[in-house]
């Protein structure tokens, strides 16, 4: 269904891609091909877009997706440059000189059919017995794994694997759900196998489950048998749009500045109504409409927290009123411990956002601001254009999904650190309290640091942490000497290379374990010289001397390997002024603009002794 003309006029009046995207998502509106073209032109004329180089390897027609891909890319503030491999080629493209390799894709999309995995997956399955199924499954996984591995070895950038879902209902029809030979259950088992293989065996590869997209738009709207039989193109317009949207969302989450913090308002956002006026019994929050929509929205926010985003609260309210809801409302799901920072006061929201950014040590361009008020949304858009603003819809029924269309909230990996992030910020609040108490009784910073009982664990060339390490290079902006971004694949290459030393550390203390928060990459340039390619640290451990301790342990490790001189550079960015003097402060001599060097063997003293931190590792045999 195309968008009615009166609504389409409204859409064209919106200025930001973000607003247009939520407008479409909230009303479940699908633009026609012509409308998508107009919207794309409108978006290109209004917004700044980041280039996206997409490569598509396909065993069915993919070129017909182009107008949809260009449209959804524009919605995600990306400008698309797409390469379609020649029809019928797959492995041929997984070579260094192929058209795909020359395209230098940021993202390679593999569009495969079940048949490509195993011919038996395209035949009636009721007669295939359990043993045969097991064999077919194993062969299918092997085929796919082998194919993806070939691309991983030859093509840079992220890889997104898709398998076209069944276009028809199962062979056994409605009985399939009950059948021992259920096709649907078999397919789910195969998908689980694909996910496990890709997650555990390959870096920088994700699986996009197209069945989810079929569920979203419905099988009848997803496929068009006319185009399938006449052009080997399976998708109806709604399906083409859903597929394109998922693909460009993955690209956006890889290419755009990562979102890290979701700052939510309280009144008419976490619940319906205004606590200061309506009181505990008056706000809409609970099992009855419209309160149920707000309970569901809070569940959605908790899921986003588990995806690794930090929640913060920013509300114009009396703190006591608001706290009463957080503590005592029977249906309030988000409690004090879920918010890494809170600003409940009457100050302008842009000021509050700035102070939250300072408290969390995170840049405002990693903020998503969620508020129902026109006034607050435009105030933040105006004073802090780097913040992504999402206005909470006025209709409660639209509230639960209001963040679903935000591509920057999609993730392509999930690490242990992501799951525990908010807990780590809560630990940080406790550290701050301890520091204030010590300071009030006359204690020094050193007393405070020693009171934490910190232990740093340094590891070298640890391939099992490659996801987290890549994430650190992608996300760390402030404490980062060179801001070089690396993919999992590139890092995996450095870890296995003899020439590179990839060090990381995690930091534990009385309050908890930080997980992996620091990374250094050293490249050996000759027998006795090396270059510090990357030195970065997550902001949540700043101010604990961890950076000096880490550098010192790296130096002693390099010294033991015969390195006598270490060069390093500082590449200034808009955000890393924090480390402008880190190198000279730590004994490096300037040799040119931003270039430094230091004698490794002249570093005085026994490293570790001067720090309020016990340092462990790396084991000498860790270097591969």
């Amino acid at each position: 269904m195309k968008i009615p003309d009166n609504q389409f006029e409204k859409l064209l009046a919106l200025q930001s891609a973000q607003e247009i995207k939520s407008f479409l998502a909230l009303r479940s509106m699908v633009p026609s091909l012509q409308q998508a073209g107009k919207l794309r032109q409108h978006l290109v004329s209004t917004g700044m877009a980041k280039p996206l180089r997409l490569g598509i390897v396909h065993t069915y027609t993919s070129e017909l997706l182009d107008p949809w891909l260009h449209f959804t890319a524009a919605l995600d503030q990306l400008s698309l440059n797409v390469y379609h491999a020649p029809y019928g080629t797959t492995v041929q493209e997984a070579t260094a000189g192929s058209g795909l390799a020359r395209h230098k894709p940021d993202l390679t999309l593999l569009m495969l059919t079940r048949e490509d995995l195993h011919p038996a997956l395209q035949t009636p399955a009721a007669c295939i017995n359990a043993t045969e199924r097991q064999e077919i499954t194993e062969q299918a996984l092997q085929t796919l794994g082998g194919l993806v591995r070939q691309f991983r070895d030859t093509i840079a950038g992220h890889i997104l694997v898709t398998v076209l879902p069944a276009q028809n209902s199962p062979g056994l029809g409605l009985y399939d759900a009950m059948a021992e030979q259920s096709e649907a259950q078999w397919w789910n088992a195969i998908k689980a196998g694909i996910a496990t293989d890709l997650r555990e065996g390959l870096s920088g590869v994700s699986f996009l489950d197209m069945d989810q997209l079929v569920m979203q738009v419905g099988r009848d709207n997803f496929f068009d048998s006319r185009l399938w039989y006449s052009s080997v193109f399976p998708f109806a317009p709604d399906g083409a749009l859903a597929v394109s949207s998922a693909v460009t969302s993955v690209a956006a989450s890889l290419l755009l500045t990562k979102a890290k913090v979701i700052v939510v308002d309280a009144d008419n956002t976490l619940w319906g109504g205004v606590i200061g006026e309506d009181g505990m019994d008056g706000i809409a929050l609970g099992p009855e409409h419209p309160g149920r929509a707000f309970v569901d929205f809070q569940k959605r926010l908790l899921s986003l927290q588990q995806r690794g985003f930090i929640l913060a609260l920013c509300s114009k309210n009396n703190p006591d009123d608001l706290n009463e809801v957080l503590l005592n409302h029977p249906h309030q799901l988000l409690k004090n411990e879920h918010f890494a920072a809170q600003r409940v006061n009457w100050l302008p929201k842009p000021d509050n956002l700035q102070s939250i950014a300072e408290e969390l040590n995170l840049g405002l361009d990693s903020f998503v601001f969620v508020d129902d008020s026109d006034y607050e949304c435009s105030a933040v858009r105006h004073s802090l254009p780097e913040v992504d603003v999402v206005q909470v819809p006025a209709r409660p029924t639209e509230v639960p999904v209001c963040l679903d269309a935000l591509a920057r909230l999609e993730i392509v990996s999930l690490t242990a650190e992501d799951l525990e992030k908010t807990a780590m910020y809560a630990q940080e609040r406790m550290r701050r309290t301890q520091r204030e108490q010590l300071s009030n009784t006359g204690g020094s910073i050193d007393d405070y640091l020693r009171s934490l009982n910190m232990t740093m664990s340094v590891r070298l060339d640890d391939a099992s942490s490659v996801t987290r390490l890549a994430q650190l290079t992608q996300k760390t902006n402030q404490f980062n000497l060179t801001t070089r971004r690396y993919t999992e694949k590139e890092l995996a290459g450095m870890i296995t290379s003899k020439r590179f030393f990839v060090y990381h550390f995690s930091l534990a203390d009385n309050f908890g374990n930080s997980g992996i928060v620091g990374l250094a990459i050293v490249e050996q340039s000759a027998a006795n010289t090396a270059r510090l390619d990357t030195f970065l640290m997550s902001c949540r451990v700043i101010g604990r001397m961890a950076e000096q301790a880490f550098l010192s342990r790296i130096m002693s490790n390099l010294r033991a390997r015969g390195i006598e001189e270490l060069s390093a550079d500082y590449i200034p960015t808009r955000k890393n002024v924090l480390v402008e003097t880190f190198l000279p402060d730590n004994g490096f001599q300037e040799t040119g603009e931003g270039s430094y060097t230091t004698r490794v063997d002249s570093s005085a003293g026994d490293p570790g002794e001067d720090f309020p931190i016990t340092i462990e590792g790396p084991d000498q045999d860790e270097h591969i």
């Binding site: 026609s32 091909l33 107009k38 107008p67 185009l227 006449s230 052009s231 317009p237």
Partner: protein, 78 residues
């Protein structure tokens, strides 16, 4: 808007051409961008704009602006 004007806009958008590149007499042969992929986009866009369900066997015959206009008139779509 006349049916031709509507068609002109739909085709120009589907083929990524300026509107005046589509003339009342244009045929698939004359316009380079009107290839088999472009043709499918025109058909899909026509269905959406005129609220039609088209038979895939008709696709091949609709290879010129006059043929499409005639088809739309016959379907009472205009």
């Amino acid at each position: 808007m006349s049916t031709f004007k509507q068609l002109q806009e739909i085709m120009a958008s589907a083929l990524e051409l300026p509107t005046d590149a589509i003339r009342e007499s244009s045929t698939m042969e004359e316009i380079e961008e009107w290839d088999s992929l472009g043709h499918v986009h025109i058909m899909v866009a026509l269905e959406q704009a005129f609220d039609l369900y088209m038979d895939v066997d008709d696709f091949a015959e609709l290879d010129s602006v006059p043929a499409i206009l005639q088809y739309l008139a016959a379907e009472n779509a205009a």
